[in-house]
């Protein structure tokens, strides 16, 4: 299954964020946040974190992850900082930027940083902040939308307003 910009727009529309608001949110990004770089880094992380069955399009990350944050400037800035820290670690650990690494080396970069055992804490250590702002942001986005929910038999997961029919249906539909 593929996650595209269209999925992102549907998911954002469901929580009341329209296309115009997404545009406004992106225009209002803090000046020191490079949207292109941030999107590339998040996309690279998503390819490692998401299951193989999910093919994540860059436009999904760009639209949903950033559009969802809207006017949450602090969150965006901290996410950008966490991605910078991840990238710095990749350069030290593997000699390349995080986005230039293969998927397996990106995975080992996250592990060598200790992100897989870090408690997600927005005010914590670098691994804790990477876990919170990068890994958990991506995981939240996937599993609060129908695509991620369907992977585990829950097509209307908490966080997604899929209506009153799904809960009445049995496993055979």
């Amino acid at each position: 299954m593929k996650l595209t910009r269209r999925d992102a727009l549907v998911a954002l529309g469901a929580i009341g964020v329209g296309t115009a608001a997404i545009g406004t949110a992106r225009q209002g990004l803090p000046g020191d946040v490079d949207e292109t770089e941030m999107t590339d880094q998040l996309h690279a992380a998503a390819e490692v974190i998401y299951p193989a069955a999910v093919e994540v399009d860059r436009s999904f990350v760009e639209t949903y992850v950033l559009g969802r944050l809207g006017n949450r400037e602090r969150h965006l800035r901290e996410q950008s900082n966490a991605l910078d820290q991840l990238d710095s670690h990749a350069r030290r650990h593997a000699g390349q930027s995080f986005t230039a690494l293969s998927e397996s080396r990106r995975r080992s970069t996250l592990r060598s940083m200790g992100v897989h055992t870090a408690h997600p804490n927005p005010d914590g250590t670098v691994p804790e902040r990477v876990r919170y702002y990068v890994v958990n942001d991506l995981v939240y986005v996937l599993f609060s939308t129908p695509t991620g929910g369907e992977l585990v038999g829950c097509e209307n997961p908490p966080g997604y307003p899929g209506g009153l029919e799904a809960y009445q249906r049995g496993p055979d539909g």
């Binding site: 929580i15 974190i49 408690h119 599993f143 991620g148 038999g153 209307n156 997961p157 908490p158 809960y167």
Partner: protein, 541 residues
């Protein structure tokens, strides 16, 4: 001190107990001011709040509870995270409630007469019934009559939410046991109602409903304001002042923008919940009322009641379709009758949220049994395909049932002032001292047996009690600290909810309950508030 204009009625607190009084009086042309300790929360922030919830951020952070403003102490046997269980804000604790609106049963009002325990209420079910119906219409209750409850004079305003797939699994299994499952009334729209949308199934009803389909008291705050009511937020009332006779309250003193101010009124209604209401009366002690206002009986703060509850879950080797909606859709009140079991009343509710939700399981922030089984460290997260396996293992196949039980009122279970600690305004904080007694443990043990039998009937295995009787959790239903009665020696307010001691001071809310039954109390709180508004309208007219 700044003195605001003088309304006919000053209501303190904007939860349902206050908002409904204000709305109902304003609708009939009365001049009302509402003072609310907390702030107005922006509904536009509900998406962010929902994400906070799903990411398991601190519950108290969602509505900014905690800190010196909300300081409290606990000195009794039961630990109690008070600030996780209440909200100070316009709308009160309905901002984070689940919207369950059963009526109490007729026997709840006659526990002494029928069973020789506790006391009777001074009013009966029949007297409250028209107000129950009115409250169901005001809050927007989706439901259907059940075979175990009291009589009804009219239908619910909305069709019930249909049973879930897992409800039907229970229903089929319980038929053989002779147990009847029925719809659970919810103040969550099953259709568009009162200008609010049908439920969209965001699944995070408690603590936040982004669609607005779940009722909260801001609905009636808005209506009251459109009828001319002034609602002042961030205006905590610190004391009530009375006249020289000590028989009439003259002003509610509050703090706003670091300045002490007051509202004078003809009538005052304290609607601050079962902790802050007695606290305000105790803080208002004076020369004439040295033990606190309206406390000649010495009962202000006493007979605190909560609902102790347990949960039992099991697992089937097949999908059970959980977490597709955020609230339970069925119930059985078959064991509600006090004399149906060895002792105690039990309200049984199947869950539609058994097991961990996909988002929470995926975020893996917490103990994960399956991680241990998989040889992983509990705090080590998985990625990629392994993540899907792990989330599936933690979310799929569960069934669960919870039971709420009644705690009998005990004068030693109480809210008092802790004079050793003060809040941000320099006032003594509330102290909660209570515990679960032998009666309640007996009821909970009976409930655990029942729930285990009911879960096993589905063929589920790996049955476990998530909260055992000695470790029961509380349902966030705080009741009983300014109880109602005819006799001023044994109660704080009279059947009209007027304090026995102060002729223009009333109490609205769960604190006036004489007994709590096992049913969620908000509908009864709303019904009592509407009844109080009728009385006040009569008095003012």
């Amino acid at each position: 001190m700044i003195r605001a204009r003088t309304p006919e009625v000053c209501v303190i607190g904007s939860g349902p107990a206050g908002a409904l009084v204000a709305y109902s009086l304003a609708e009939r042309g009365h001049d009302v001011v509402v003072l609310e300790a907390g702030k107005r929360f922006d509904p536009g922030e509900s998406g962010r709040r929902m994400e906070q919830r799903l990411r398991r951020e601190r519950w108290t952070a969602l509505y900014e509870m905690g800190g010196e403003r909300d300081a409290f102490t606990v000195s009794g046997a039961s630990a109690y995270a008070l600030n996780e269980r209440r909200v100070k804000g316009v709308g009160g604790s309905t901002l984070h409630w689940g919207g369950t609106v059963p009526r109490m049963h007729p026997e709840d009002f006659e526990m002494d007469s029928r069973h020789g325990v506790a006391d009777d209420w001074p009013i009966g079910y029949d007297e409250l019934e028209p107000y129950y119906l009115q409250a169901e219409h005001e809050l927007g209750a989706a439901g259907a009559p059940n075979p175990f409850g009291g009589s009804r004079s009219g239908p619910f305003p909305m069709e019930p939410h249909p049973l879930s797939y897992s409800d039907r699994l229970f229903q089929e299994a319980w038929e053989e046991l002779g147990v009847t499952l029925h719809h659970l009334p919810r103040a969550i729209n099953s259709a568009s109602y009162d200008g609010r949308s049908r439920c969209q199934a965001f699944g995070t009803c408690s603590p936040v409903c982004p669609s607005g389909a779940r009722y909260d008291a801001t609905v009636h705050v808005r209506k009251a304001e459109s009828d001319g009511v002034t609602v002042l937020d961030r205006a905590p009332v610190t004391r009530l002042e009375h006249d020289d006779t000590g028989e009439r309250v003259t002003a509610a003193v509050y703090v706003h923008d670091d300045e002490e101010r007051s509202v004078e009124a003809d009538l005052f209604v304290v609607a601050c919940g079962a902790v802050e209401t007695p606290r305000l009366l105790l803080l208002s002690a004076s020369e004439q009322h040295p033990d606190g206002l309206a406390n000649a009986s010495g009962l202000v703060g006493r007979r605190f009641i909560e609902h102790a509850a347990i949960r039992v879950r099991g697992r089937l080797d097949e999908p059970t379709r959980q977490h597709l909606i955020g609230f339970g859709t069925s119930q059985t009140q078959q064991f509600y009758g006090y004399d149906e079991g060895p002792r105690g009343s039990i309200l049984i509710t199947p869950l539609n949220t058994a097991g961990t939700s996909p988002t929470e399981a995926a975020l893996q922030d917490g103990p994960a049994i399956t991680s241990l089984l998989g040889g992983r460290r509990p705090d080590e997260m998985t990625w990629g395909d392994e993540l899907v396996d792990q989330v599936t293992a933690e979310t799929d196949g569960f069934l669960a049932v919870s039971a709420g039980t009644d705690l009998l009122p005990d004068p030693e279970n109480r809210v008092s002032l802790d004079r050793s600690r003060t809040d941000d305004l320099g006032n003594p904080v509330p102290d909660l001292s209570f515990g679960i007694d032998e009666h309640a443990i007996g009821t909970l043990e009976r409930a655990e047996e029942l729930l285990t039998e009911l879960v096993a009937a589905t063929g589920a295995e790996a049955i476990e009690t998530s909260h055992e009787p000695e470790n029961a959790f509380f349902a966030n239903h705080m009741l009983g600290t300014t109880r109602m009665g005819e006799d001023p020696a044994t109660s704080v307010v009279d059947p009209d909810l007027r304090t026995h001691d102060i002729e223009n001071l009333y109490v609205s809310g769960g604190s006036v309950f004489v007994t709590g039954g096992p049913a969620n109390p908000t509908l009864t709180i709303a019904a009592l508030a509407l009844r109080l508004a009728d009385h006040l309208d009569g008095r003012l007219s």
